[in-house]
Symmetry: C2
Subunit: 454 residues, 2 copies
């Protein structure tokens, strides 16, 4: 490797062929999901109306490694291995001795890390004879990833998109339609969950929690249809570990070991995907990075939420999962990082956080967009609003290094580009972006509605 | 290389470090540009108000290779070498024995091949003490590339954007502003050229020819300001040859030689960049590919234009260049491939075409978008409207192979992604895209206005 490299590439033949399951390596397993009726741990059969059995088995797997099917590897190769960037121009602009590395997932067709799990989810469903997948999407990153993936396996795809995003982001809708998906603004009158919301508020802007209820309801009611979730669950985080496994190989190529690892957290899949392979190395004593989650100040489930059993959706259709939550009825303020507007946090990330293996911090929207702009002007890539949180935290760390003189190696994930989020940058450039502080009252109200589990 | 590769990558250390100048290898040199007043060949000094001397020397160079400066290589490395894709899923969908390769330039910050020349242009200007660059842009690909490049060297950047695009594509405007550029809709009241157009038609939608006049006028009038052109000229095509040089190395890695090479042509820079290194190989007898230009049916300068001296701009401010032209006053119909809406063709590409070394064909808008959609659904990447022309021609060729049974190796350039052109796909999906046939009357009218050179 020459000395002034800007990115570290892997050949396709070097791409990992297994996903990593962190659960067996943890000092204790995460608490099980509970059936909302019986409050007993749910079994695989309870999930069968929602997911194909292969994914349910991955959800509860105690194997450390799971082989990636060849059909999935074939599609991964359309964009994977993804590049590891060294942000030399940002380092110089910050005048920091730190070395900044970013694992860049914006090279995927949908422009984010989401296809890493959309592709295997579509594959396993197709393999078990499912004809149609339903899902929800906020800003549209997940919906477009699933639309792309289902197109590869000849499945139909129906997406409930949060009404506010459906109206504001027509181009994401077009992207999903290019890949053949059918879209419904949520709340819709196609589901009981949607009709209930519309009866109370005909102009409801929707939320991820509502859209999940609608997609789940439709999947449960049709035999040939299953549901796909883009984050939160164990099998989703499992599929995303290819990010961290590749990054490990890439850092080894340039003989670097991370001192600090930061990732933005919405549902937790980008963060888990990047960090879990490094957590394995840390637990095995082969490296000792600080691992830090970054979340929006307006939706801070880790730093301000409670760790308790709650529903994953507004309509209370999902199992109860133990996680850091702001309450399933909490509707976050309309920050542009739509992928981080979720009331809860992945149960697995929540559990690892409770074990004391992770740190967390929350950052406001304007600091994040300032970081995104500085990154775009130095490194060229315009980040999606979600990873501007990771970049803002990286800049905080690198500025700390300037002050302390430490030449830390910082690794983060640039989980998507912002080509379909330029309206948000336009608002920022015009000085019209709201910061949205922690909404204490709204959270207190939603917390009070969390079911009390004895 | 494993057998079922999807892309061929080069390490940064394998990136070419020289641009290739095809002129010395041609059987005869292209005719010189003429001074519009004296009708004599122009010399370097005539161009000094417009360009820095380093670029003027490249424009008239007779060297076969020119070293790429280290500062330019450093920035190229942010996204180069770019991947060479093997479109296996498209091949399968077409049931063709042909092998389809695409050199993908959408990985650059601006999302197209344009930064390959924007970066060296900004570099040489900065090196000669220029403070500000002016330019024109249509759909915004070139303007955003120059905005990105000037940001890397601390230059100011002023962009005259064709009014129709300025109004229709606010996100491209935001992208340019993210990188610090100042935008003016064209025609503007800031220039004589613009005011003259506005006096005749206050609602003029503008054209590339008009915007060039405005940017040139502003550059000439200010000592610290120069002009940058994104296509057409020799030095621009020179910088783009890194595309073809990389593709040669990549095909060699998988032991393939192209039988057919197709590229879309607007001003000719993407096409020249891809094809000239292969033309060198062809002229030297080391391979014998058919090399084919693809242009829009509504703006077919090579297949329907005349080869004669004409102005590069509507305002008649540029030198006269010998090229295939539909007439400098021709305003093309509003197809979505804004980068192909130019009345002329690069003099160098025109000359090579006259020498009988190239073929050309013209394709209508709807066939191109159908090809773009098929590509997106099979290969994942959503192409910009310009390269849908190259993909449509590639599909024609691959279907021909299905019928003839020939296993040809086809190489084309996917010169940009379509993330900022989704509105065009939306129209296509709704069946609302006009085809715009050859506008014979408008062309005849514009042809009559071409100056007659004795």
């Amino acid at each position: 490797m020459h000395d002034n490299y800007s990115k570290v590439l892997l050949d396709e033949s070097e791409m990992p062929t297994q996903w990593y399951n962190v659960i067996p390596d943890l000092p204790e397993p995460p608490p099980p999901p509970l059936h909302p009726g019986t409050l007993q741990p749910i079994g695989p059969d309870d999930l069968a109306p929602l997911f194909p059995m292969a994914l349910i088995m991955q959800e509860v797997s105690t194997d450390s490694y799971i082989d990636i099917p060849g059909e999935v590897l074939d599609i991964y190769r359309l964009w994977r291995p993804s590049p590891l960037l060294r942000a030399r121009r940002l380092e110089k602009a910050l005048d920091t001795p730190a070395k900044i590395f970013l694992k860049y997932e914006g090279v995927s067709p949908a422009g984010s890390h989401k296809p890493n799990t959309a592709v295997p989810q579509a594959f396993y469903n197709a393999q078990e004879g499912v004809k149609r997948l339903t899902t929800e999407t906020g800003a549209g990153q997940w919906g477009s990833a699933l639309a792309f993936a289902t197109a590869q396996f000849g499945l139909e795809c129906e997406v409930w998109q949060v009404r506010a995003s459906y109206d504001q982001k027509p181009y994401r809708k077009t992207m999903m339609e290019i890949w053949g998906a059918t879209l419904h603004p949520s709340p819709s009158d196609l589901t009981e969950a949607g009709r209930a919301i519309l009866a109370a508020d005909p102009d409801s802007p929707g939320s991820l929690g509502i859209a999940i209820s609608e997609a789940v309801e439709q999947a449960v009611q049709r035999d040939d249809t299953r549901y796909a979730l883009g984050s939160v669950l164990n099998h989703v985080l499992l599929h995303q570990t290819i990010i961290g496994e590749e990054a490990l190989l890439q850092l080894a190529k340039v003989e670097e070991t991370p001192d600090v690892l930061v990732g933005c957290t919405g549902g937790g899949s980008n963060f888990g995907g990047l960090s879990f392979p490094f957590l394995r190395e840390k637990l095995a004593g082969r490296m000792d990075p600080t691992i830090r989650c970054v979340e929006p100040a307006s939706c801070p489930s880790l730093t301000r939420g409670e760790y308790r059993y709650d529903f994953g959706d507004t309509g209370q259709l999902t199992p109860l999962v133990k996680m850091h939550t702001l309450g399933h009825s909490f509707i976050p303020d309309p920050i542009h990082a739509g992928g981080l507007r979720y009331h809860g946090m992945s149960p697995l990330v929540s559990h690892v956080y409770e074990l004391g293996l992770l740190e967390a911090e929350a950052i406001g929207q304007n600091e994040c967009f300032a970081a995104g702009l500085e990154f775009a002007r130095t490194e060229g890539i315009i980040p999606a609003p979600e990873p501007t949180h990771a970049i803002a935290a990286t800049i905080r760390e690198a500025v700390g290094c300037r002050e302390s003189g430490e030449a830390k190696v910082i690794l983060t994930a640039l989980c998507g580009h912002g080509h379909l989020d330029l309206g948000a940058y336009e608002q920022y450039l015009a000085g019209e972006l709201e910061d949205f502080d922690y909404p204490a009252e709204k959270v207190a109200e939603a917390m009070a509605r969390i079911p009390v589990i004895a």
